[in-house]
Amino acid sequence: MADYTLLYILFAPFLGAIVLLFVPNRQALQVRLVAAIAAGISLLASFYLFFAYDPVKGGFQFVQRFEWSKELGIAFYLGVDGIGTPLVLASAILLFAGIFISWHIKDRTKEFYIFLLILAAATIGVFMSLDLFFLYFFYEMSVLPMYVLLGVWGSHTKGYLEMKDPEGLKQRDSVGFIFNFAANSKEYAAMKLTLFLSAGAVVALLGILLIYKFSGLHTFDILVLREQAKFSGNLATIIWLLVFFGFASIAPIWPLHSWSPVGHAAAPAATSMLHAGVLMKLGHFSIIRVAFEILPETTRELMPIAAFLCVFSIIYGGFVAYYAKDTKYVIGYSSSSHMGYVFLGMAALDYISLSGAVLYMFAHALATGMLFAMAGWVYDQTHSRDIPSLGGLVNRMPFVAGCFLVACMASIGMPGTVNFIAEVMILVGSWNRYPFQVIVAVVGIVLTMAYLFRMMRGLFYGPMDSQYSHAHDAVAWYDRLPLLLMIACSITFGIFPGHFYNVIRAGTDPLVSRIMQVVPLAAQNGDALRVTRDASRKQADNVSPVARHPSLVTRHEGTNDL
């Protein structure tokens, strides 16, 4: 059946960006409407995708395949499983919300929306790519607009002005610059983010190319690779490490996280939302897609690395967030702390915890999206992100304060929000394997609570400085719509997670069984493996891609079909 849902979702923003090229910049409203319509189409289509995905059938659905280069074995190959579907939905929601959050951007509106749409569309592209080449292609494509978005529409961090005087410039050019904590300018942040992520991407690319080269299959097709590619000890380890750390830098796992708070702090609200909300998840998702699918055995051996590092992520991020005085730093570090939970859920390699990790990605996207949106709103109104100097804003902006509270609740995993379910699933599922980490994570929840509510108090409660008396609440429909949309999604899925849960389980269950059970058996039957590989390669030429999917070909019949 030809179902072009994925193409609609993916190309609506791209087309929107192209249409925007021809809309004159003076017509700001038209520009916004075009962007909103493009994002709206994408959003509706992803809701359809989400509800039309059949968890009983499982596997990759809505598959689209277009040969791109036969010689190199590249195909434009799209499809979603239970892991990709919620993330596509999250991206679409955040894109739609982000368009409205940026409604007040006056400076070069058109270009901003073009880059925002490209960013989001590329992110969506990663989540539905079934071809390593295009996965990497979209991955890079989603990173690069960040540079422009930060560099042009970003904001400087506090203390930047001191950097602009001659003394500061001299200092910036001196060797002492090395130890200058975040040079505070948006350009610095943009540069750092782009270099960091591109470097990570290159490392991951190396891994991907090694897979391509040494699999001997001459294809980038993930499904073929995961069925037939076989890597031996050291090579597998090297590839796994390259892929893991390459992609983990965007996730970001502990020592590779330092681009994220700086980047978040400098970015405009919608960009931070998309970035923290979905771009970070590209890391986890790509690790699942590449490392988990293609190298299950190595994953089982090496995933404790992630379990080890995630402790640092959780605690360290939490502590630094507690100390930070800049609202966006707090949220940024809290994001990197929360990503530790996802890593914990992934590392445990358990049905429940991996599903929890995927659900947490979705939940965190909404929660952190709301937080960044609200921090952006406060910044727009007060031109300050300095928590000690703010306060009492609830008088001026009750609606935003209320939303902020809900966002904090979601972020700490209050029951009734989808975060709670995700958190419980991760922790419950990981307990058997990593009890220590779970205890740390539970402490981390308390820590999250402490810093978020400290920020809540600092921003909204207490006496208000009179200089902020001109601040406005979000009154217009286009200001409220995105917040309400995210809150509604968070709470609705928190109260009715049934379908959501089934969809995710349809994606994670085969994966976990592969990693935990099927592998050793396959390793025993080396000869049979080779035969099967030849046979299935012949099959691959004749049969349509859908039919090749293991869940449709009854994977459990042959234990040797690695």
Binding site: F177, M414, P415, I421, V443, G498, Y501, R505
Partner: protein
Amino acid sequence: MFELLVILIPVLPLAAVLLNGLLGSRYSHDIAHRLGWGSVGLSFLCAVGIFVETLRTGVAREVVAYRWIFGGDLTVNLAFLVDPLTCIMMLVVTGVGFLIHLYSVGYMHGEEGFTRFFTYMNLFMVSMLLLVMGSNYLVLFIGWEGVGLCSYLLIGYYYDRVSAAKAATKAFVVNRIGDAGFLLAIFLIFVNFKTLDYTQVFAQASQLSTGMATAIALCLLIGAVGKSAQIPLYTWLPDAMEGPTPVSALIHAATMVTAGVYMIVRNHVLYDMAPVALTTVAWVGGLTALFAATIGLVQTDIKRVLAYSTVSQLGYMFLACGIGAYTAAIFHLMTHAFFKALLFLSAGSVIHALSGEQDIRNMGGLRSKIPWTHALFLVGTLAIAGIFPLAGFWSKDEIMAHAFTHGQYVLYAMAAIGAFLTAFYMFRLTYLTFYGRSRLDHHVAEHVHESPAVMIGPLVVLAVLSVIGGFPGVPPESGWFHHFLHPVTVAAGGGEEHGAGFGLVATLMVVATAIALLGWGLAHYLYSVRTEAADNLAARAPGAYRTLLNKYYVDELYDFLFVEPAKRLGVVWDWFDRTVIDGIVLGVGRLTQSGSAGSTWIEKHAIYGLINVVGYANHLAARSWRRLQSGKVHHYAAIIVAGLFILVHLILVWWSGSSGIGVASR
């Protein structure tokens, strides 16, 4: 029908929350408060219906509202368990809640954010009902978190006051520490039983090892201690008095803080398997009861005295749980809800009458000015002090008697001293507030007025309940109440012993009454008799005055011997509380801060430094290379030519293996 009623109980307040929360700004306060108390009242009626049904059939039933998380190995339903314990809790929560809602209509009249207040209160009712009705740990936890959230919202109701905002955050954070323990307990339970349903867990509980049972029970205890404000996590409760008085009455006296007790009773199967945990519960309770009571002696804020008294009474309930008297704990929970709500609301009425004055040193002589409030407050005081035959007497006496008959003499002594102190400080409070010379500010005194009927009405009902609320538990240990709760509180294996004879029970009752009367007498003597004597003396003659002054020396002696040490102990413990316990909390905070500072330092100097080294190397390289970018076309052209030249030579070298000159000269 039964299912519908059960589901309606939390759904009705939820509907009110949604209406008031989403549309509250569209209509007047009148509609908002009617929705608020009306929904709770209907819930109460439903609860009564359920209660009657349960009384008739006497079986526990489970009602599944809907399947929440389901699939393979993790299934959680949003389900309600209706058994006698739930019935009692539902009645208490909705009943007292309904009265307090009614009261709030008068108390909060004209406040800014009136609708918001009712929204939060109703949300609290929903959460609390989920907490007591849930049939598995996850639903319990939802309610548990929900009440914490509502507590946070309502303490911080006056958000422009820094102290309120701080108290709210403190309450939430301390609660959350407890929640962390609770969450761990849930994981342990899930890992051991692969289910979170009460019935299945309790059915399989016997397979658990003692060590694991102890671990689970202790983790649960951490949660209970945080929620119920026991040592060492009780510090948030006195601060929580920053919220409006009805909130203090509902959340911080009658319902939410008793959630810990409810949880322990609900899980008594697990506790029965872990004697160590049980002993811990008992000692935590006993110590808290005594400790909080002594602090209560020296407080001057009317609500803070009541807050410490709440902590102390919760200690009694924990004590009861710890010695296995689960029914007594629930019994005391119920009577405490009646009289403590009464006390708080009366105190609220006093504050209302005095335009917000809360310091008892600035009160006095209010008996004649607000007679209704006085009478009601007195009933509450008598009830909490344990004067025969009011509600507090029966429940408290039962706990003490149980401790005595089970040989827990130390705990009994602690409870007895606590009871004495309770009587003393409560009557001190009464005397300072309502009797003696008026110490009111004259501006305030002009405006003193009795509260409106909408506030007094609920108080009267609560007063009646405080008087008769103890009778379901008569006679002790075998009253109607005990029979009703018997299926829940008695573990499958054993039963509560009825070892004590009538004589012993009667003696203990007499002793308890004596203790209470002693406390009353002392308070009467110190705060009523003496001051009047001193006043008369000052008026009449200096000689007689001196004589009485000598008598006063005796008082001084008594003071020195009994009151002062007690007071000093109170001061010391208050100091201890402020310095050591708050110090520990602060210390943890400081540690957090220094940890954060350390992390930030590493971030700044190590991680950023490393990255910046790379960046700086690039920077240096770029600075030298950018000279190439002069922007002049000539330079670019020259570079192109040079490049071309090099390229041509490279090609030639590649072709022929020698340089251009070499080729040319060949």
